[in-house]
């Protein structure tokens, strides 16, 4: 029961209270690109969640080795990129060999779902906040799902934001930032902050 409670809390924090986009703006540039095409949303969401979940487990073992070394923090990005690259290549090879149809669909956006600030940032965040392997995995999975939630919330208004009805100065990118800002404010409130009067 205690374990289930901890899992729920960790997942809630990762998806809502510390959503990578709305609390730290990680992967905002990627979000703006991906939100353009709603057709790829499910595939993109699946690949981001899969990558963050898998790399979170590998990050746990990498951190054990890096923390044992005094100057390990300098090489942390190099090790994380190597992990990310290995997961990316192995995933592509497995898909190409065993699921060529899915490979054909996913090859267009798997690189953008692997090499972005949200994914690399998730490795640094879980490394900072998590202790056990289960924590790493749940947090990694939650970060992926939180990113997907952010992309979905942005994609549903994409047409309106880029509509000709919007004033030219605000149309598209500026309005997108203001919209994400308003969502970010709502998520910020969700984590229990109060205003100072």
């Amino acid at each position: 029961m205690e374990l289930l409670k901890n899992i729920m809390i960790t997942a809630f924090i990762a998806v809502f209270a510390e959503n990578t986009i709305f609390s730290r703006a990680l992967g905002t540039s990627t979000l703006i690109i991906v939100a353009r095409n709603r057709k790829n949303l499910a595939g993109f969401g699946f690949s981001v969640t899969y990558i963050t979940a898998v790399i979170s487990v590998l990050t746990y073992f990498a951190d054990k080795a890096l923390n044992a070394n005094e100057t390990g923090y300098i090489y942390t990005p190099l090790v994380y990129i190597a992990i990310l690259g290995a997961v990316y290549v192995i995933t592509l090879l497995c898909l190409w060999r065993f699921a060529p149809v899915i490979f054909g669909r996913m090859k267009k956006y798997i690189h953008i779902s692997a090499f972005n600030c949200a994914v690399l940032g998730s490795m640094f965040l879980i490394s900072k906040y998590c202790v056990t392997l289960a924590d790493y995995f749940i947090h990694g999975l939650g970060i992926g799902l939180g990113f997907v939630l952010a992309v979905y919330l942005t994609a549903i208004v994409y047409d309106r934001i880029y509509s000709e009805k919007a004033p030219y100065a605000f149309r598209g990118y500026p309005l997108m930032l203001i919209y994400i800002g308003i969502l970010s404010m709502a998520f910020w409130g969700l984590s229990g902050h109060t205003l100072n009067y």
């Binding site: 709305f22 609390s23 730290r24 703006a25 990680l26 992967g27 905002t28 540039s29 990627t30 703006i32 690109i33 300098i74 090489y75 942390t76 990005p77 190099l78 994380y80 990129i81 190597a82 990310l84 690259g85 990316y88 290549v89 592509l92 690189h111 090499f115 972005n116 600030c117 994914v119 690399l120 940032g121 640094f124 965040l125 900072k128 030219y168 100065a169 605000f170 990118y173 500026p174 309005l175 997108m176 930032l177 203001i178 994400i180 800002g181 308003i182 970010s184 404010m185 910020w188």
Partner: protein
């Protein structure tokens, strides 16, 4: 003549028409979270400029014959390798500033700037134009970040570069990430309006 024109358009695009921050929305995460004041913004642009310039410079030697799947890993690995001496150097020169950058410093390695610029220009342009593009894109980014940070600092804390300027009212919410998103949205809209106005004036004159 054509060369001059295209060099001019590279500079114009990098600084104005396709400004990485105000128009294209590249590498905005550290700006939203960290560019709260001029001092933090200076550390941010120093780290970004050095890491991006050297990573893109080394990446330009990667041949196109290597498949994209591998190329993208090589770009990020180069970034991670450039990060090592740079992190040591900046920790020595500005330890507090680098500490304040936190996880955003290593995240420049996978920035959309490095991934997109390395693919979009290296295989189409000459080395000279490529260098010009990189330098002016970085200058465009840095100028936008510094401008944004100054406006944000004035609005959020009533100071400029740490000096009190006596603002009658301050909006401390602009220091938060959501405030950063909203303020950047408004500045991007203002920037677009100014570009449009300049274009209109030019058209009227001609």
């Amino acid at each position: 003549m054509t060369g001059d024109n295209s060099c001019k358009s590279i500079i114009k695009n990098a600084l104005l028409n396709k400004n990485p921050i105000f128009v294209s929305g590249m590498v905005i995460a550290p700006v939203i979270v960290l560019a709260n004041n001029l001092n933090d913004a200076i550390t941010l642009v120093t780290a970004f400029s050095l890491l991006t310039f050297f990573t893109l410079l080394v990446s330009s030697f990667i041949p196109k014959s290597i498949v994209y799947t591998i190329r993208i890993i090589i770009y990020t690995l180069i970034g991670a390798l450039v990060y090592v001496p740079l992190a040591i150097l900046l920790r020595y020169l500005m330890p507090e500033g680098v500490e304040a950058l936190g996880i955003f410093f290593p995240l420049f390695i996978t920035s959309s700037f490095i991934i997109s610029r390395s693919e979009s220009i290296f295989f189409r342009e000459s080395k000279g134009k490529m260098l010009l593009d990189i330098v002016f894109c970085i200058i465009g980014y840095d100028a936008a970040v510094l401008l944004f940070a100054v406006i944000r600092e004035i609005l959020a804390t009533g100071t400029a570069g740490g000096n009190i300027i006596g603002m009658p009212i301050v909006f401390s919410a602009f220091e938060k990430p959501f405030g950063g998103f909203i303020l950047l949205g408004f500045i991007a809209a203002l920037f677009r309006s100014i570009l449009l106005l300049i274009k209109k004036i030019r058209n009227t004159n001609t």
